[in-house]
Amino acid sequence: MGKFLLRRMLWLIPVILVVSTITFVLMHAAPGGPWDRDLSARQVDPATQKMLNTYYGLDKPLWRQFTAYLVGDVDSEGKFDCGLICGDLGPSYRQRGLTIQQILFMPPEEKSVIYSRFGYSMRLGIYSLLFAIIIGIPAGVISALKQNTMVDYVSLFIVTIGISVPNFVMAIFLIIIFASTLHMVSIVPRSWDEISVWVLPAVILGFGTMARTARLTRASMLETMRQDYIRTARSKGLSERVVIIRHMIKNSLIPVVTILGPALAGLVTGSFIIETMFGFPGMGRAYVTAIGQRDYSMIMGTTLIYAVLVALANVSVDVVYVFLDPRIRLD
């Protein structure tokens, strides 16, 4: 087990390497430097640009900039600045004086880390996932037990919509219904401390995952229901309740549990449009803002964090699967 985990974790290294190489190459293939992006705004004068380039090390050859980003570099005073391998994502080009990890992980003064941008996004992701599980699994179970009835058809219809309609389009519909027409919620709340303002974004974000969970639960239930051990359980006189809960649901949840890791990663990485729509103080909105401002180091840093999250989620699936299903062997 330990060896397996270690090997899967080591796989993260090439992933980070490839993602950062692609991102780095693309950013340097873009015309111009980071200071003359916005053509409509006032241009930074050449002398300042030169100074900024020297300050951020952008006057060095490309390969050296790349190694400086990944490993680190010696500055003019001979001091070694550690790069990505020490967890340093570099300075932001637009929010001067702040590094990327400060922007993403530093909470406002005297608050805990869950109030950082990353913390906000993780919380939103977890709430959405909870919604997806609490609604999705029972919906899947019920629609499998009542296969080919009205309940099943209604649930399948909602599930199909949830799977195919992208969450930001769903957000548009729900915002227009609940915020503009019924005035039940405000789109941009003043504070995110009240739990009620989290409901709409969490539901919208989790809707697709809910649908996918329900569909998978239903499929898995239908398969389990036809197994021999269910017939055995029934024939030895167990009550239907016990058969359903102990034998069917327990066994059919194995594949469902395994999608939850990637689902959480998907929720965190897929939230940038929802976060932007609701003015949410999370990582996703910071990412969209960085895109708008062409803050390259910020885009690169956030992309890396997202990629690591996705990779970690995939590793977690393998691990969870092995714990849950002893038939599966590690190799």
Binding site: P14, V15, V18, V19, I22, T23, L26, M27, A29, A30, P31, G32, T160, I161, I163, S164, V165, P166, F168, V169, I172, F173, I175, I176, S180, I187, R215, A219, L222, E223, T269, G270, I273, M277, V288, I291, G292, R294, I299, T303, Y306, A307, V310, A311
Partner: protein, 335 residues
């Protein structure tokens, strides 16, 4: 009766047995079988109708649109749709503008019709390229094995690690100002980015099919008869590996349409045009981006493209589900 060399694993062997025992059932091919199953599925027929309708709307947008999508009507900005007499901003509706107008007084219906062009093109064109590349690479990797196969598998591992949408965003952000980024109002770059990522999943699925098919007896038989590798690959393996490719296609198309809409909504998709000679004027994603500031004044700016995207995507999902059931009946009802 004449003896034909029938293709094993297609429905024809069955049909022959039926023929030999003098039953008056006409032999039907696998594809005819699948087609008859598909058109019995009501949801996928509706899906096909919607897809054909939107394709026609996209092709004939210039004829069907009631107004020029670029025509600015002074003083007619933010008109509500026709069925609302007076909108929330106090403006009266105009029967000439069915879904009302946007901030510059441009007709929302016409702009939505033109938006179909981008979405349908994004749905079909990159998919076509991706299928061809993916299928050829997958066939070679699966059939020849060895170094090509190894390289392909390592490549797919890497592609799977990079979240697709993030890759598209980075490509569109960085290369948008270049010459390539401006081609076809930014769509060329988008198609290329989609193709760079998309062929991998097709290659993977064709490779998997090829690996299991090449061990089958009918391939051995073909080889014994002296068929060349190319012939075996394209005449014997490919037709038998097509079902999952078709299913994957139906799943990929809505994915591409959604990706374009998301990128458009982030301001990274199609660059909205002001030149009436352009084929692509605006996209649904770009329309939604323009509409989001007017969510209270004229919600139909957002609703019209949002409904259009939902309809098209749902139609493809229904068709995809129907295709899966039709081509792989063993899976029916389980997913």
């Amino acid at each position: 009766m004449t003896i034909q060399v029938s293709h094993p694993s297609t429905g024809q062997t069955q049909a022959h047995i039926a023929d030999l025992t003098n039953m008056s059932v006409k032999p039907r091919s696998l594809w005819m079988d699948a087609w008859s199953r598909l058109i019995k599925n009501r949801a996928s027929v509706v899906g096909m109708v919607v897809i054909v309708a939107f394709t026609l709307l996209a092709l004939f947008a210039s004829v069907l649109a009631p107004h020029n999508p670029l025509q600015i009507n002074d003083g007619k900005g933010f008109l509500p749709p026709t069925w609302i007499e007076v909108g929330s901003n106090g403006k009266a509706s105009d029967p000439a503008f069915f879904f009302g107008t946007d901030t510059l007084g441009r007709d929302v219906l016409s702009r939505t019709l033109y938006g179909a062009r981008v979405s349908m093109t994004v749905g079909f064109l990159p998919t076509f390229i991706v299928i061809i590349i993916g299928t050829i690479v997958g066939l070679f990797a699966g059939y020849r094995g060895g170094r090509i196969d190894n390289l392909l598998m390592r490549l797919t591992d890497v592609f799977y690690a990079f979240p697709d949408l993030l890759f598209f965003i980075i490509v569109m952000v960085t290369l948008r100002q270049t010459y390539i980024g401006q081609l076809l109002n930014g769509l060329f770059l988008l198609f290329s980015a989609l193709a760079v990522v998309g062929w991998v999943s097709f290659a993977r699925i064709v490779r998997g099919q090829t690996l299991s098919l090449k061990e089958k007896e009918f391939i051995e038989a073909a080889r014994c008869m002296g068929a060349t590798d190319t012939r075996i690959m394209y005449r014997h393996i490919l037709p038998n590996a097509l079902s999952p490719v078709i299913i994957l296609t139906a799943i990929s198309i809505p994915g591409y349409i959604i990706t374009e809409a998301i990128l458009g909504y982030l301001g990274l998709g199609l660059i909205p045009s002001t030149n009436p000679n352009d084929f692509f004027i605006t996209s649904w994603g770009a329309s939604m981006l323009e509409g989001q500031t007017a969510i209270n004044a004229q919600p139909w700016l957002l609703l019209a493209p949002a409904i259009a995207v939902s309809l098209v995507v749902l139609a493809f999902t229904f068709l995809g589900d129907g295709l899966r059931d039709a081509l792989d009946p063993r899976l029916q009802g389980t997913q």
